[in-house]
């Protein structure tokens, strides 16, 4: 397996998909809300299920972008598993676990 090619391709296409979502959502928002107040919107008050809201699409772009790093760490687990490199399987699993804890669990623990 060409490990570098796999990860490099994920990074490249990940950025393209995320940017396309972010930019298309923003353009649709500007067209439909030309006089909106920028500071009224953030990740706590824009719904992730209201697909009629262009900013929902933008936020899915942000989620796609945030998902790229955990995805490449997961790919590294598979790569080191195929190489039977136990030390690096352990290291990659630990890094992924730390990331998942920080992204999904820590905000709940802090009751934000």
């Amino acid at each position: 397996m060409d490990e570098k090619k796999v990860i490099s391709t994920t990074l490249r296409y990940g950025v393209i998909i995320a940017s396309a979502l972010v930019i298309s959502g923003l353009i649709a928002f500007i067209v439909t809300n030309p006089n909106a107040n920028v500071y009224k919107f953030n990740t706590t008050n824009v719904s992730l299920t209201n697909f009629k809201d262009p900013l929902t699409i933008t936020l899915y772009g942000v989620i796609a972008l945030i998902s790229i790093p955990p995805l490449i760490v997961f790919e590294q687990i598979l790569i080191y598993a195929s190489e039977k490199d136990k030390i690096y399987i352990g290291i990659s699993v630990l890094v992924l676990a730390l990331m998942m804890f920080a992204i999904l669990i820590l905000p709940r623990l802090l009751h934000i």
Binding site: I7, V15, I30, F41, L59, L65, V73, M99, I103
Partner: protein, 284 residues
């Protein structure tokens, strides 16, 4: 007017990406002061925009550095244990800043880190390859070795990272700063690898670029929950910083002399001082 604000936001993001690339510090660390000082964006939204834009820039440059063989995947993942742990601590500190409204303190810390980050640009880094040192036990076991062709020296360079524990310590601090300030902490990462682990400058910078996205993504969960990621602002800063960084790295970097690079670096020092003065309430 929304459109006028977004146009100036795009322009500022491109300049930040360009300056970040020309000085080697990355777009994120320049974006926050530019947004805060020139566009009046609240520092928490600026920090959130910077964190997310940093992931996009890192993914793009990381992909290029992996293909060129300069980014070392094993060194990166082994050090990411420390950067992610640091980012967890840093994002927790950012949570306290938000909770206690310590934004002036954030201004001051950001200014100090910005000034500290430019130090490598005034050192004689990047011109020499460190002497090969036989690796210590753990570093040898973790296969921190590699080789690359150095175009300036016109020879193949063999390297082996040493002192993994120094690398981990430096990376924990880099991760903490990244989580607190929403920046990539590229300069601190390079210092940890270059001075701490005896890696060649080219390998340090490439591996650092590749690692930055992992560190930044780790902090994003807390940032998201705090509501400091504004979809309109990041919708402009992601492409803006991306365009600026690419313009810098593809076309302008080769035209840069060491003196010119240091001149641009002085602009960042001025921004850092302005942030500190703002935090102290001396300027508005």
């Amino acid at each position: 007017m929304l459109l006028a604000f977004l146009a100036s936001l795009l322009f500022a993001s491109i300049i930040a990406g360009l300056l970040g690339s020309l000085t080697g510090l990355g777009g994120g660390v320049v974006l926050t002061p530019v947004l805060v000082l020139f566009l009046g964006v609240p520092i928490d939204y600026a920090v959130g925009a910077s964190l997310i834009s940093t992931i996009a820039t890192s993914a793009s440059s990381g992909s290029r550095y992996l293909k060129s063989g300069l980014a070392h995947m094993r060194i990166a993942i082994a050090l990411e244990i420390a950067t992610t742990s640091g980012a967890i601590t840093g994002s927790f500190l950012e949570y306290i800043v938000e909770k206690e409204h310590l934004f002036s303190l954030l201004d001051i810390i950001f200014g100090v880190v910005l000034i500290f980050s430019v130090i490598p640009n005034f050192m004689r880094m990047g011109t020499e390859v460190p002497n090969y040192v036989e690796p210590d036990g753990l570093s040898a076991k973790l296969k921190f070795h590699g080789k690359y062709y150095d175009e300036a020296l016109r020879r193949e360079v063999h390297y082996h990272g040493i002192r993994y524990h120094f690398g981990l310590l430096g990376m924990y601090i880099a991760g903490l700063v990244s989580g607190l300030l929403g920046i990539g902490s590229g300069a601190l990462k390079v210092l940890a690898m270059d001075l701490g682990m005896n890696l060649p400058f080219k390998i340090s910078t490439a591996t650092s670029s590749f690692m930055i996205g992992v560190t930044a993504a780790t902090s994003s969960g807390v940032y998201w929950a705090l509501g400091i990621i504004n979809p309109i602002i990041v919708g402009v800063t992601i492409p803006g910083v991306f365009i600026g960084s690419n313009l810098g790295s593809r076309y302008l970097n080769r035209l840069m002399s060491r003196r010119l690079r240091q001149l641009f670096t002085l602009v960042l020092v001025a921004l850092g001082i302005q942030l500190i003065l703002r935090g102290l309430g001396i300027i508005g």
